[in-house]
């Protein structure tokens, strides 16, 4: 059972923690273009439908020839489109609708202005094209008022539709924000896990070192350096998504050196790293976690000697990290697999589905293996980012 021992405090000299992956700027720009296209599509379609309905509904009335009437109506529709676009820009700048409590009274007042302007335009167009046939009528006032009410209703509909679209978009945005928050919380959890130092190991090491101070001061000094190196590596693990394999191997060697003081000849470790793998990016503490598990489940319960083999090799397009210890694979309880589960989680997050982590027993050895896909240089960069 391990308890987070060192909280991953950002250290002054360490690089800032990179923000969790969020949709980038390019994505947002593309999103905005799609939104503008959708807006114009809706606007044009809506007004075109309204124009068609309006023209079709023109009866064989007494208001002069059909074509003049049609021209007036089309002009009015174009003006409606223009006005609604201005209204849209205005609403967006004032933010009357796109907020938790829309400014309903102001919007309703604005709609009166809008409908009056629209009817004014209509009357003007009528005067110009049809010689004022509309206002020549005896009930001109009633007609104008009716038109105002009609256009008020049209713009009200427009505004309601706009509000619905906005509130949907708002809901989506909130959901996305919540998702991003969740991702960043998970990220922080993961970093805390990575910076875990097994307290049992830490205090036992302190005890060994204190014994060494009296018996063998040089070895004690060396062990302090090794412990410091290991602690620094595990703290750094809380801050970077990947580390160089060479750095991880250095930490593993430091760890094994300390454990050799504790276990004497009971721990027989061999580390074999194939050449040319120094720069391979791996999840921090991935190898170290496996080695710690091998010591915990192989060496600690063994009364006699126990061998531990640490290997890294390239095979095809993959890098294999293998840690084996002599012993039996126990029917795993939840806690014994904690380290392995952490590793698997990190692997999937960083390297995608090609990565994997297995634990098996063969010929008296318990073998833990991490597979890291290493396809192209670009892929590596993507992982590092």
């Amino acid at each position: 059972m391990t308890v987070p021992f060192a909280a991953p405090e950002p250290f002054p000299q360490s690089p800032p923690i990179p923000a969790p992956a969020v949709p980038g700027n390019a994505f947002q720009a593309g999103h905005r273009a799609t939104r503008a296209r959708d807006y114009w599509l809706c606007q044009c379609t809506g007004w075109a439908i309204l124009a068609v309905i309006s023209v079709m509904s023109t009866g064989q009335g007494a208001f002069g020839p059909m074509w003049r009437m049609t021209v007036v109506k089309l002009l009015v529709m174009c003006n409606g489109l223009l006005l609604s676009h201005c209204w849209h820009l205005f609403l967006r700048r004032r933010g009357w609708i796109d907020r938790a409590d829309p400014a309903v009274p102001r919007v309703l007042l604005g709609l009166i202005v809008l409908s009056v302007v629209q009817v004014g335009f209509l009357v003007g167009a009528d005067v110009l094209i049809r010689n004022g046939a509309l206002i020549a009528d005896s009930d001109a006032t009633a007609v104008v008022i009716a038109l105002c009410v009609l256009w008020y209703a049209v713009f009200l509909m427009w505004t309601l539709m706009y509000a619905v679209v906005l509130s949907r978009r708002r809901a989506r945005r909130l959901e996305l924000e919540k998702l991003q928050l969740e991702v960043s919380v998970k990220d922080a959890e993961l970093r805390a896990l990575q910076a875990q130092v097994n307290p049992h190991f830490f205090f036992n090491s302190m005890n060994s070192i204190r014994a060494l101070i009296y018996q063998d001061p040089d070895t004690a000094a060396q062990a302090v350096g090794q412990l410091a190196g290991l602690m620094r590596h595990s703290l750094r693990a809380g801050q970077a998504p990947t580390v160089r394999l060479a750095d991880e191997v250095a930490a593993v060697n430091a760890y094994l050196a300390i454990e050799r003081h504790r276990f004497d000849e009971r721990l027989q470790a061999e580390v074999a790293i194939a050449p040319g793998l120094d720069e391979v990016p791996i999840p921090p503490m991935a190898l170290q976690t496996l080695v710690e598990n091998a010591v915990k489940h192989g060496v600690e319960p063994a009364i006699g000697a126990c061998r531990v083999r640490v290997q890294a090799a390239r095979e095809g397009g993959r890098v294999l990290l293998t840690v084996a210890n002599q012993g039996r694979l126990q029917a795993a309880s939840a806690s014994t697999r904690l380290g392995l589960a952490n590793t698997a989680r990190r692997l999937a997050l960083l390297f995608g589905p090609g990565a994997g982590c297995t634990l098996r027993e063969e010929d008296g050895w318990v073998v833990a293996q991490v597979v890291l896909p290493q396809e192209t240089k670009e892929e590596d960069n993507a992982c590092a980012r």
């Binding site: 036992n204 005890n207 014994a211």
Partner: protein, 239 residues
């Protein structure tokens, strides 16, 4: 006082030896690196005090204690297992966290000495169990250090024996016959094939079915006594 150090790490044993050098009244008579060695050392050396590591290869310090017929006085040493020690009645034992603080060690030793009976000139012959013998019981996750005289009733359950003390009823991995051999016959009475009663806890005796008897223990526990045992008991007490 004679002490045994049980720890699987050589450096940890050395370190404790070094710390104990400041306490000349305590003599380190041996070391053990695992429970098997420890069991042999406890049997051979009969130490007054055992410094016992919790985590060892081949079984925990608890398992070792639970397998002993008579538990020695123990101070646990551990790097990071105090959560495991919380399962205990803490007053019954002490534990030290590694690396051990000299002041904390001195305190633990003072506490241990205060609990010791006055040293007699001649050490009592090694007979099991001592009158103030304690038994270490581990039942699942819970552990107890119990003085035998605190136990009011032993009840056989197959290869196990259920032990009644205070409000606890843990199972002990010993047969009733094994236990009977260790118990003080002045205090403990085999009342039937299945039960041994601590006479200190008997509050009442009543005639039972047939010519048997029924004993009442503290906490209103009724224990029937077989006819044969009852006859022996009557004879013994001149009833």
């Amino acid at each position: 006082m004679r002490a045994l150090i049980v720890d699987d790490e050589r450096l940890a044993r050395n370190e404790l030896r070094r710390l104990l050098a400041a306490h000349p009244a305590l003599e380190v008579v041996g070391e053990a690196a695992n429970p098997i060695e420890a069991r042999a050392a406890i049997a051979a050396l009969a130490p007054d005090l055992v410094f016992l590591d919790v985590q060892m290869p081949g079984g925990s310090g608890f398992d070792l204690l639970a397998s002993l017929d008579a538990a020695p006085a123990v101070i646990f040493t551990t790097a990071f297992d105090q959560y495991a020690l919380r399962a205990f009645d803490v007053s019954a034992l002490d534990y030290l966290l590694k690396p051990i603080e000299p002041a904390r060690l001195a305190h633990a030793l003072r506490k241990f000495e205060a609990r010791l009976p006055l040293p007699s000139a001649a050490p009592p012959p090694q007979q099991a169990p001592a009158a103030d013998g304690k038994v270490f019981i581990k039942d699942g996750e819970r552990c107890w250090f119990v003085a035998l005289e605190q136990i009011m009733l032993f009840e056989s359950e197959g290869n196990y024996t259920r032990v009644y003390f205070d409000a606890n009823r843990p199972l002990l991995l010993r047969s009733l016959n094994q236990l009977e051999a260790r118990l003080d016959p002045e205090r403990f009475l085999r009342v039937s094939r299945r039960q041994i009663v601590n006479l200190d806890f008997v509050t009442g005796i009543a005639p039972g079915p047939g010519s048997g008897m029924v004993l009442t223990l503290k906490g209103e526990i009724k224990v029937p006594m077989s006819r044969r045992r009852a006859a022996e008991f009557r004879q013994l007490n001149g009833l």
